[in-house]
Symmetry: C2
Subunit: 312 residues, 2 copies
């Protein structure tokens, strides 16, 4: 473990990968690892990128990596992908191009599946970010499909949140529906060479007018990620937002992140402890009793909690 | 409470609405209500409907309600909508038309927001379904946007799962990405009068060939919900699936649902109990200590659990 920690702190890619695998499996060693690593976190900037499927987020991230390498930044990427039993894991499809960067010594890319994290996706991705942070990466990108609640929660942990849209991606109500408008620090209209980019821009600005009257509205930028257009301006804008953000706002966001992760960690620990003490409860038998209506889930939950309280 | 239970069991819409509000607010009375109601559940058929935004799920559900009313079914609908602070709640946009049905005495429609359920979306929607089930509705429809993990979990609780797609809704990889292919009992290609419907059908069938070799492949149906085309065939197909399903499969699915809900209920109860006992812990102070690196989330979780164990 000491060796793993030492290697992670040195930025060793194999060690980082091993650390994230421990996190993903929610292994018993995870907690020990995280305790060792935590003191070295807090220096990275976390950039969250979200948007509906098909908006070209991966291509955008791919181009951002290029631009950030040019600026000599050390970069960590967590790409959260919905998983499917058909493919047996996270889908690499449009990740393949991005992965070419992973041979670069200053770039670490990890694809994480949304499913199957025992402690929840937010905890797993939050801990993966701690590891990347401690490893000396100064710029962390988290990419998720921004339609589901879990995925939005993950992106919300970032210092700067980018919401990616495309021209004519349906009427405004669909954007509203995504429930992500209000968390954006920057809007990116990707594929801005397609017809309707101006209309989409006007729609976003109109909505911002309604929603955020007294605040400074987030900028709306246009990119054509496949051509690399607008990427440098996006990076500059991110840097500007970070540099000019009031200390107070920055601290508040970080504390919100800590608070959220603490709750997730606590929640998972409590459930795990309870399940340990509950090992003599026959869960299947409980389900059978509920199924044939000789009991109900609430009474059984009461009984389990009572028996727990007696044991501790 | 006795009065509320009695009215719910009689199918009184105002009482059902009040019951679901208790569930949504995760009020202290919820548990009492659910214990009273649970013995009367288990008779409804639950139909889950999911798909990406813009596939016309709401219009489809609207038409299904029409068709089910004609068959004298009693219908309950839970429509799960991503919420947005811009609108201050669930978005009603394309719900407005559906709501016209809610004046019908045999139809109950409720829109639930994905966010802000203290015990989680799955628990809240599962409990709302218990209430509708006990109220005598024989057909329950649950509609969600099937891209997020939480939303998929909700739909997975159904007896029959319908995945809605539209022609040319992007290349196959996007469908894969949704991670919902493998849970479908029926595929519906809505807007089937648009170009590419046949191609989409072929793509789905090709994928099913890869994924489900030894099982009976789910049917692929075409609808034009705006015109009401294909709706009756869809309803018949649902009925057929339920009628011809092996008893064993049916019981297994129901037990899976019970098992999932029991875990959610237990998880929420545990966390709530813990939080009660933990009231003297200053959560903000913990966050501050983590922020300035004098402690870490894992050590603090340890301390909270230790102090809990001492108290019980």
């Amino acid at each position: 473990m000491k060796d793993l920690v030492r290697k992670i702190l040195k930025g060793d890619s194999a060690a980082i990968a091993k650390g994230i695998s421990l996190v993903e499996n929610n292994a018993d060693e995870t907690q020990m690892l995280m305790k060792e690593i935590f003191p070295y976190t807090g220096d990275s900037t976390i950039i969250g990128i979200t948007g509906a499927p098909g908006t070209g987020k991966s291509t955008l991230v791919d181009q951002m990596i290029d631009a950030l390498i040019e600026k000599n930044r050390k970069i960590g990427i967590i790409a959260v992908d919905p998983s499917s039993p058909f493919t047996g894991g996270a889908i690499l499809g449009d990740r393949i191009r991005m992965m070419r960067h992973s041979v670069h010594p200053d770039v670490f890319i990890r694809s994480m599946a949304t499913r199957g994290h025992l402690g929840g996706l937010a905890k797993a991705s939050g801990e993966a970010l701690f590891i990347l942070d401690a490893s000396g990466k100064d710029c962390l990108l988290v990419e998720t499909v921004g339609v589901g609640q879990d995925e939005i929660e993950v992106v919300k942990l970032a210092d700067v949140i980018i919401v990616v849209l495309i021209p004519g991606s349906g009427d405004e109500i669909q954007i509203f529906k995504a429930g992500i408008m209000e968390i954006a620090d920057i809007f990116v209209i990707n594929k801005a060479d397609s017809p309707g980019a101006e209309k989409t821009e006007r729609q976003i600005k109109a909505m911002l007018d309604i929603g955020k009257k007294d605040e400074t509205a987030p900028p709306v930028l246009k990119t054509v990620a496949t051509e690399g257009h607008g990427i440098n301006r996006l990076i500059e804008r991110i840097d500007t937002i970070i540099s000019f953000r009031e200390e107070e706002t920055h601290v508040e966001r970080r504390k919100k992140r800590i608070s959220y992760l603490l709750r997730e960690i606590l929640n998972e620990r409590l459930f795990r402890e309870a399940m340990k003490s509950v090992q003599d409860v026959d869960f299947d038998e409980c389900v059978d009793r509920i199924y044939d209506h000789t009991s109900d889930p609430y009474t059984i939950a009461d009984q389990i909690i009572d028996s727990l309280a007696k044991k501790v």
